[in-house]
Subunit: 328 residues, 2 copies
C-alpha cells in the first residue's frame, strides 16, 4: 500500500540549539572566528557550556529548521534524523511533531546523548556555532523508510551531516531512492564542508548528477568549486545541477537554471537580531515556491522573505505565519 | 569561619519553562482560565505538552527568576532549589551559575525529573501556566546551608513552593534562621495560594511577624486577606509586615511602610510580548533599590523598570543589562 504523497522529506542533524549572547572578546579569547562552525567532543561542549552565559534552548538542525519553515509555509513535510532517548531528544521530537512534521526515526538509548549546538550571538547578530553532534551522527541507512522517500516530491539533504560515514551513506541511499522514483533531490552545502575531505564526496555526488537543486552561500560555493569569482562558480556548476541557488546574505541571492539566471535583493529587516537559520529558511521558502511552480525569481523572493523573518528574532525557526508573508 | 556576605538568597521552585504561543481557543478547549496557574502530574504534563506547539525552553521558577534579576542588577545572590540529575536540571544549574548566582543544592537522582512549567502565551501577551513541579517539590530542610542564610542581607521566599510540606518546612526554617540573624525576610505571594489550605499557613507566618517585606499583586492580596477593596487589604496587613508591596499590572504599584504610602505608575513598554516574570522582576528591582537604601518611591520605580524590561520579550528573566536601566 502506498503512502500519502508528501511534499518534502529531509535528512539532517537532529539537535537542540543552546543560544546565548556574548561579546566579541569572548569569541577572541576562545579563538573562534565569528560566523564559523566547529565540531566539539562532549567534553569540549561541557567546557564551553560552563563558560557561556544563560541560554535559551530551541530545537535546531539545519534541514530540520528548513522543515519547520516548510511546515509553516503549508507544505506536508517529514524529517529523518537521530536523537537519543533523553529530555533534549523529547524536546526535539515534540517541536517537529507539533508542527505537523512526520518524524518517525526511533530514538537510540545513548550514549551519546542528543546533540546540541552552542550558538553564541554577538551584538552584530552574527552567530558562531559549536556543535556536539551526539546521537545525530549515529544515523544509519537502516533508519530510512524507502516508501516515505519515494512518496516525497523533494528529498532534502544537509551538508552538515555529510561528514560521518553512516549518515552520509544514508543520505546517498536516500538520494538514489528519490532519483529512481523520479523525485527531486535538493542538497544544501554547509560550512562544515571545509572539514576534512567532505568536499570531494559532495563534488562526486554533483558530478554523478544526483543533485537537482543545490543551495549554498557564496563562501561555500567558492570553497566547493575552488573558484574565486562567483561567476566562475556558476560556470563550474550550472551544467551539473538542475537549479543552482546561491545566497549572499545582505546582498541577496542568485538562481541559475539552464540558460536562465535571476538575482534578487535581500528582503528588508527592521532589526537583525540573530542570523542563525537564514540559509535554512531561505531554502524552505525557495522550495515551497518551487512546488507551487512559481517562476524562478518568485522562488528567490520567497526565500528572502522567509530568511528575513527568521533573522528578526532569536532561534532558527519561524515564529510567525509564513503563509501570510509569501502569499501565492 | 564566616561566609562572604551576600546580598540575597532565595528559596524557590527550580524549574525550566517550556514557552509556546497559542490561540485563546486552545485555552478555552482545555478549560484554562487565562492568566492562571495550575499544578499537573507528570502524565498530565506529557498530555498537555503533546498538544501544544513548538516551544522554547528557558530556565524559570519565580524566585529563581528574581535572583537572575538581582544578579543582573549587580547584587550578590544565591539560590536554593531542587533539580534532578538530568538534562533540564543541568540547564537550570547552568543558567543560575552563569549569572554568578551561587547554586549549591545537590541534585537528586530522580524520579521525579526536574520540574517544568508549560507556559502558553496568547496574542495579548498573557501567560497561562501549567506546572509539573517534579524534583522541585522534593526540597527538604536538610538542603539549607545555615551559614549561607545567616550571611545574606535578605532571605527571599516563594509562595509557589509553599504548598508541599517539606519545602514549606525548609522555607519556615530559613525564615527563622534569617530572623535570628537579624536579616530581612521577604515573601512573595503567588496565585497558588488559592490551592488548598496554603493561605492559612502564609497568614500564620505573617501574623507571627516572620515577614519583613511582603510582595503580591492586587488579586493575591485580596485572596490572602479576604478583603474586596485594596485599601482594606492594606489596612489588614500594614501593621503586620514591615513593608507591603502591591503590584497592579499596567496600573502600577503601591508600597506601604509604617505611615508612609507611595504609589507609582507602570513604566512604559513599546510592545508587551509576554508578561511572564513581571512580578518576579519587580521584586528584584524593588529589593535591589532597597539594599541601596533608596527611598520607597525609588524602590517601586526600580521594580516597574525591571518588570517593563522582562515583559518586552519571551522568557521571565532579563535579557539586557538592568544596571543601565535603574542607575542609582
Amino acid at each position: 500500500m502506498g503512502q500519502r504523497a508528501l511534499d518534502i522529506v529531509a535528512i539532517g542533524d537532529a539537535i537542540v540549539d543552546v543560544i546565548a549572547t556574548c561579546d566579541d572578546s569572548f569569541l577572541e579569547s576562545r579563538g573562534f572566528e565569528k560566523g564559523s562552525m566547529r565540531l566539539l567532543t562532549e567534553g569540549q561542549a561541557s567546557d564551553l557550556y560552563r563558560a557561556i552565559g544563560p541560554a535559551r534552548e530551541i530545537s535546531g538542525g539545519s534541514a530540520a529548521n528548513s522543515m519547520a519553515g516548510a511546515a509553516a509555509l503549508g507544505l506536508s513535510a517529514a524529517f529523518v534524523g537521530q536523537v537519543a532517548d533523553d529530555q533534549l531528544g523529547a524536546i526535539f521530537a515534540h517541536d517537529m511533531r507539533s508542527l505537523g512534521i512526520r518524524f518517525d526515526t526511533a530514538s537510540i538509548a545513548g550514549p551519546p546523548p542528543t546533540g546540541i549546538c552552542l550558538i553564541l550571538v554577538t551584538r552584530d547578530a552574527q552567530r558562531t556555532m559549536s556543535t556536539f553532534p551526539g546521537a545525530s551522527h549515529e544515523l544509519t541507512p537502516a533508519a530510512l523508510d524507502r516508501a516515505l522517500i519515494q512518496s516525497a516530491s523533494i528529498t532534502f539533504l544537509e551538508g552538515y551531516l555529510w561528514g560521518p560515514e553512516r549518515p552520509r551513506a544514508a543520505m546517498l541511499e536516500a538520494a538514489r531512492i528519490a532519483q529512481q522514483a523520479d523525485r527531486t533531490v535538493a542538497f544544501t552545502l554547509s560550512e562544515s564542508l571545509c572539514l576534512g575531505d567532505r568536499r570531494d564526496g559532495v563534488l562526486g555526488m554533483i558530478e554523478g548528477r544526483l543533485v537537482d537543486v543545490l543551495f549554498g552561500n557564496d563562501h561555500e560555493m567558492r570553497h566547493l568549486t575552488g573558484c574565486a569569482d562567483i561567476d566562475e562558480c556558476i560556470d563550474a556548476l550550472r551544467s551539473k545541477v538542475g537549479t543552482l541557488v546561491i545566497t549572499k546574505g545582505a546582498q541577496g541571492a542568485i538562481a541559475v537554471r539552464g540558460d536562465e539566471r535571476v538575482e534578487v535583493r535581500a528582503a528588508p529587516v527592521a532589526t537583525v537580531v540573530d542570523t542563525t537559520g537564514a540559509g535554512d529558511q531561505f531554502a524552505a521558502g525557495f522550495l515551497a515556491a518551487s512546488l507551487s511552480e512559481r517562476p524562478l525569481k518568485a522562488c528567490l523572493q520567497a526565500g528572502t522573505l522567509a530568511a528575513a523573518e527568521v533573522i528578526s528574532h532569536f532561534g532558527a525557526r519561524p515564529q510567525t505565519d509564513l503563509r501570510q508573508l509569501v502569499a501565492w
